[in-house]
Amino acid sequence: MTPLLADVQVETLAEDAWLLRFGETIDDAVNDRVHAAAAKLRANLENVECVPAYASLLLRFDVAQWLDDDGRFGGERLRAAIAAAWSERSSAEKAPREVSIPVCYDGVDLPEVATHARLSIEEVIARHTAARYRVAMLGFAPGFPYLLGLDPILAMPRRSNPRTSVPAGSVAIGGQQTGIYPQSLPGGWQLIGRTPMRLFDFAATSPSLLGPSDHVRFRAIDQGEYQRLADDVGSHP
């Protein structure tokens, strides 16, 4: 590992992939730096795919585009291009998008989460809807957001026996994080509610409801409103 810029380590993942490592922890400030770097490199560096995670940024490129005249890989040239893109003055900082997600809080694990937090169910819902979250990264499945910003009192370990199938739209807590299952998937997070929103639509040009670094707020709805919204959105895939 060699430093590219102050306190950022560059690790070669593969012939066509580097990883910029900003830290080793799940931490708001570290994740902030990841997204700031991703935005800058996306704006100023062509043909390099930037994939943010909690504390690291994957850069994936086409080796053939970075060959020197002698046919050797121009790693130094790529490094210089990254450094140059990095030092560009950032274009006008875009305010993060804020997405409001309606949730019917009737998840099967909600009573257990309340017991674990020593709160009433109403207090759990109030705390879960009070926070503003940030999409730290998407992964596990297309459109699955790992959200930072959970009220620490609501943190709860994953289930020791993961479910073989969690329904699409389930809103859940796993450790310090909260997230939403975009499709029916196996999963070990604690299910606290469900949203009628479609998180990922393969047929859409912008397929994911949420993107990296978006802000998210949850809004409590009752079963009637869930049904009305679900009818509008169309059933989950």
């Binding site: 012939e15 992939a17 080793e24 690291s56 080796v63 890989f73 459109g143 397929p207 895939p237």
Partner: protein, 323 residues
């Protein structure tokens, strides 16, 4: 023009070069696990190269061609017959309308590719026709499926007729299909140093066996378990095809084309890109061993492989034109 699926085979899916650009949204690339084999199959039918081919796993489908069709089979060596006649692989073949192609067991390798002139023409999903079984895009082909074939000019190198025809020349499957099962080149991963001494040694000396639980997401490798010095508390970060992960069982997983975009297991190695198709052609029960490589060597082998693939693709095009 189209093809009817009479029997689907074990796991047959449409694959092109994959779906790029959606990793930040949690969606990987998918695409053929043996990409050079897919590109060569396309070249042998005179396609541009980006077209989708059928990726066939271990036991092949039975297909009825409703119109005259030019086809090519590459990748793993599979039993292939049309009306009882063997269909040669690694060359260009003409099948008259109504032909039934029966693909059977695979003699060598794990995945074969069937390309048709014009390419298989399913709907594009986010820019690609690749099925991504892990992400839920597309699915394996099923009995009764009708797969469309894209528009194309007829092939000059065959005269239309009532019987199967094949070119007098074909490609040597070597070096594209790996017969030697030599050790695969592996770069040390970020967490290689966290392996205990015996496991660091074992990774590059022991023989693993490809588990039957392997799929397009990854090959599970069975062997004496590898151990970390101390348990690691890791947070999810990027994973790629070729990433060798170590779950708590100590049995490594080598990720393939449908690798998830992030993972939280220790990354103990990264397979050299040139050896990814070689791994993908090992079948359950086959052995796998690794030798340590350097980035320079891996890059050089990749450049050499690309150069010889490009030369061969060009030569195929020239020979088809002059036929």
């Amino acid at each position: 023009m189209s093809v009817e699926v009479i029997k689907p085979g074990l796991l047959t899916s449409l694959q092109d070069a994959g779906r790029t650009g959606y990793a930040p949204l949690g969606l990987g690339r998918a695409g053929a696990v043996d990409e050079p084999a897919r590109r060569l199959a396309n070249a042998l039918v005179g396609n541009a190269g980006h077209e989708a081919a059928l990726e066939i796993t271990l036991a092949g489908p039975t297909l009825r061609f409703q119109h005259d069709t030019v086809v090519a089979l590459t990748g793993g060596l599979i039993e292939a017959r049309v009306e009882g006649q063997p269909l040669p692989a690694w060359t260009s073949c003409f099948l008259p309308a109504g032909s039934v192609l029966r693909l059977g067991g695979m003699r060598h390798g794990c995945r074969s590719y069937l390309a048709v002139r014009g390419g298989f023409d399913s709907a594009l999903v986010l820019g690609s026709r690749s099925s991504d079984l892990h992400a839920g895009i597309g699915r394996a082909v099923q009995t009764g499926d009708i797969i469309a074939i894209g528009e194309h000019a007829s092939a000059d190198w065959f005269r239309s007729g009532r019987t199967m025809q094949a070119l007098r020349w074909g490609l040597d499957p070597q070096p594209w299909l790996d017969y030697a099962r030599a050790p695969l080149a592996l770069l040390r991963g970020h967490h290689w140093e966290a392996l205990d001494d015996a496991s660091q040694h074992a990774l590059f000396t022991q023989r693993f066996m490809v588990s039957k639980d392997s799929n397009r997401t990854g090959d599970r490798l069975e062997g004496a378990p590898l151990r970390l010095r101390l348990p690691l508390e890791l947070i999810s970060e990027a994973t790629l095809p070729g990433t060798l992960q170590l779950p708590p069982s100590g049995q490594p997983i080598a990720l393939l084309a449908e690798a998830p975009v992030t993972g939280g297991y220790p990354r103990i190695g990264q397979l050299a890109m040139v050896d990814l198709p070689r791994l993908a052609q090992r079948r359950p029960g086959d052995t796998v061993s690794f030798r340590e490589t350097t980035l320079d060597e891996a890059l050089q082998r990749l450049a050499e492989r690309e150069a010889s693939l490009q030369r061969l693709l060009q030569r195929i095009g020239q020979r088809l034109e002059s036929a």
